[in-house]
């Protein structure tokens, strides 16, 4: 059985088939990239997995459990974290509190305990903070801890969003265009981090990406989509030379 599996996943908006009977599987510990022209349905697949949209049909399995009907907030509790294409950070909060929100799925304190800030809450806060600090070190975010998000540049926000996802200690992470808006150097950093996430933290990565350099450098396998359908699946070079993929990109 595969670690993560989508079966005949479809998302229709009226007559528009954003995702049309897509099936794929992600093995534990691999980096799988989804590529495709704009509007191919890549982000829609992510939004189906994290339950922002309910699928029109099809099913999603994670660790042999059917998660198609789980509410959106339960997806994170199962260990699936994600980032967004257009950064969705909590803008009027500090970097630190953004990252601590990532720890939410691990918090066990109750409301009345928090109102009194009992020792158990204090201990929990410190434990969360310790984990957050590990992520901050992993992604070199030390200079930004107390800064407000609204004052930070785009490139840094992108990394903070990744950090927030990592703070939840996910088993599977969904990265929606991790390199969009980053310069060459930042993209290099991003590719190192993605590989380290796999090798050091043992996280499985599912990623939507346009930057083929990054895709080639980090991916174990690639899926190409167009008009909501799978065109090709396989190693990065196989997919890039697949005639349908070439046709989809070049319009031949």
């Amino acid at each position: 059985m595969s670690y993560f599996r989508a079966e005949n996943l479809s998302l229709h908006f009226g007559g528009l088939k954003a995702v049309d009977a897509v099936s794929f599987a992600v093995e534990k510990g691999e980096i799988l990239s989804i590529i495709g022209p704009n509007g191919a349905g890549k982000s829609s697949i992510f939004n189906l997995i994290s339950r922002i949209y309910p699928p029109t049909s099809g099913r999603i399995f994670f660790e042999d459990q059917d998660i198609t009907q789980q509410p959106a907030y339960d997806i994170a509790k199962l260990g699936i974290a994600r980032t967004f294409q257009n950064i969705e950070l909590f803008e009027n909060a500090t970097v630190l509190s953004n990252l601590l929100v990532g720890r939410h799925r691990h918090s066990t304190t109750r409301l009345w305990q928090e109102l009194l800030f009992l020792p158990s809450v204090r201990a929990g806060e410190k434990a969360h903070r310790r984990r957050v600090e590990q992520v901050i070190e992993f992604l070199d975010l030390e200079p930004y801890r107390d800064k407000l998000i609204s004052g930070l540049p785009y490139g840094v926000r992108k990394v903070i969003e990744l950090a927030r996802a990592l703070c939840s200690e996910p088993k599977l992470i969904l990265l929606d265009e991790p390199s969009s808006g980053l310069n060459v150097e930042e993209t290099d950093d991003m590719s190192f981090w993605i590989r380290d996430m796999k090798s050091e933290l043992g996280i499985t990565v599912l990623m939507v990406e346009h930057d083929m350099t990054l895709v080639n450098r980090v991916s174990d396998r690639v899926i190409a989509l167009n008009y909501g359908r799978v065109l090709a699946m396989g190693s990065p070079s196989e997919v890039q030379h697949h005639p349908d993929v070439v046709a989809a990109y070049l319009g031949a």
């Binding site: 994290s50 922002i52 974290a81 939410h104 928090e114 204090r122």
Partner: protein, 383 residues
């Protein structure tokens, strides 16, 4: 300028970041404690209202400022608290019991209002909470067996530990102050724990909050319940302070006053609730001044400028008519809101922070530090 060198995670958790806070808040508390022995009874009465309004402000701040859910129905929560107290008092229920019962009942009602509010955003939520407030107002007027209808209800003096607590005495003031301080401390505790961060997360991006494992519906309802419960507690004190309650006290205008409290104070910090409450309560003496002294002063100025006695009398009458016109208070509120939204959206506390920074950085302060930036509208915002 002071630089904080943090050596422990505790440094980010504690309520007072450094000793300066302990001294300044300690001094403030000391001043507030000796206030009844120094201030006139009128100012003491105003100070009690500041405490009550600030408590409501803190409650509304949790909902509007931190969870991002607007409410124009908090007068109704205040009313439920006040009426619960007045009703239970008739059966000789002791103060601590009906105080807690009022908070609890209001919290439950708040949660019930929270459920329909889950599907509403922005202006629609405002309309829904206004309608809720009207419903409560109507119930208070019609449910005569419990609320005594438009006749209103008398609220007897508070009995605490076998003693009668006069609504004008220092004990009542200390009680209100204690409720305010406890509310603030509880709220600060909440804000530094997972629930408070979940509230802020919901305010800034519901989608991201959801994808981080926050049950958005549950936390919105929690926020409504906590906010309402705090307002209910304030309602009990409000009833005791006025010693008489009737439906026409809990109108839309009162809800707007509460919004003014947090808007004028600054919606991003609890300081705002207190500063806003002081500002709002002090509008009243200003209006009284406008009504009583202003016409005479203007007539006097006119007379010294050479106007005849008859003409000065006319001017005095005209100003007096203007100052006692119906709805002047509402108009002044409106002007205040507009001025603050346009010129100081961060409110009084934001202004205070700017002044503080000016002196900390003197002479290097740059005017553009707080310049509002244009924010690009996100094209693909998920709702």
């Amino acid at each position: 300028m002071r630089f904080l060198f943090k050596t422990d995670y505790e440094d980010d958790i504690r309520l007072f970041p450094h000793s300066g806070y302990v001294y300044s808040y300690g001094l403030l508390l000391a001043v507030l404690v000796i206030a009844p022995y120094v201030l006139s009874s009128y100012l003491m009465s105003q100070l009690v209202f500041v405490c009550i309004y600030a408590t409501v402000g803190v409650g509304l701040m949790i909902l509007t400022g931190f969870t991002g859910q607007a409410s124009l129905g908090h007068a109704a929560f205040l009313a439920i608290g006040a009426y619960t107290a007045a009703y239970l008092q008739q059966f000789n229920v002791p103060f601590p019991v009906y105080f807690l019962a009022a908070g609890l009942l209001t919290g439950v009602v708040g949660a019930l209002v929270g459920f329909p509010a889950l599907r509403l955003q922005g202006i629609y939520l405002v309309i829904a909470t206004i309608s809720f407030a009207f419903i409560v107002e109507e119930i208070m007027a019609r449910w005569e067996s419990v609320t005594n209808g438009n006749e209103g209800m008398r609220v007897k003096a508070m009995q605490l530990l076998g003693a009668t607590v006069s609504r004008d005495g220092p004990t009542f003031y200390y009680l209100c102050l204690a409720v305010l301080v406890l509310t603030i401390v509880g709220t600060l505790n909440l804000l530094r724990s997972p629930t408070g961060r979940a509230f802020v997360a919901i305010r800034d991006s519901e989608t991201a909050a959801r994808s981080m494992g926050i049950n958005v519906a549950l936390y919105k309802v929690k926020s409504f319940a906590i906010s309402a419960a705090i307002t209910g507690f304030a309602g009990v004190l409000f009833a005791h302070k006025l010693s008489f309650i009737s439906p026409e006290m809990f109108t839309l205008q009162l809800s707007i006053e509460f919004i003014i409290v947090i808007l004028i104070g600054g919606t991003f910090s609890l300081h705002g609730a207190v500063l806003g409450a002081i500002f709002l309560v002090m509008i009243d003496p200003f209006l009284t001044y406008l009504k009583d002294d202003m016409p005479g002063v203007i007539a006097g100025v006119a007379a010294t400028l050479g106007a005849g006695a008859e003409r000065a009398g006319h001017i005095q009458d005209a100003v007096a008519a203007f100052a006692s016109a119906n709805g002047l208070k509402g108009a002044i509120y409106g002007v205040i809101i507009v001025v603050f939204v346009l010129f100081e959206p961060l409110g009084l506390y934001g202004r205070w922070l700017k002044i503080k920074l000016f002196f900390q950085l003197f002479p290097l302060y740059k005017r553009a530090t707080f310049k509002r930036q244009k924010i690009y509208v996100k094209s693909e915002r998920n709702r």
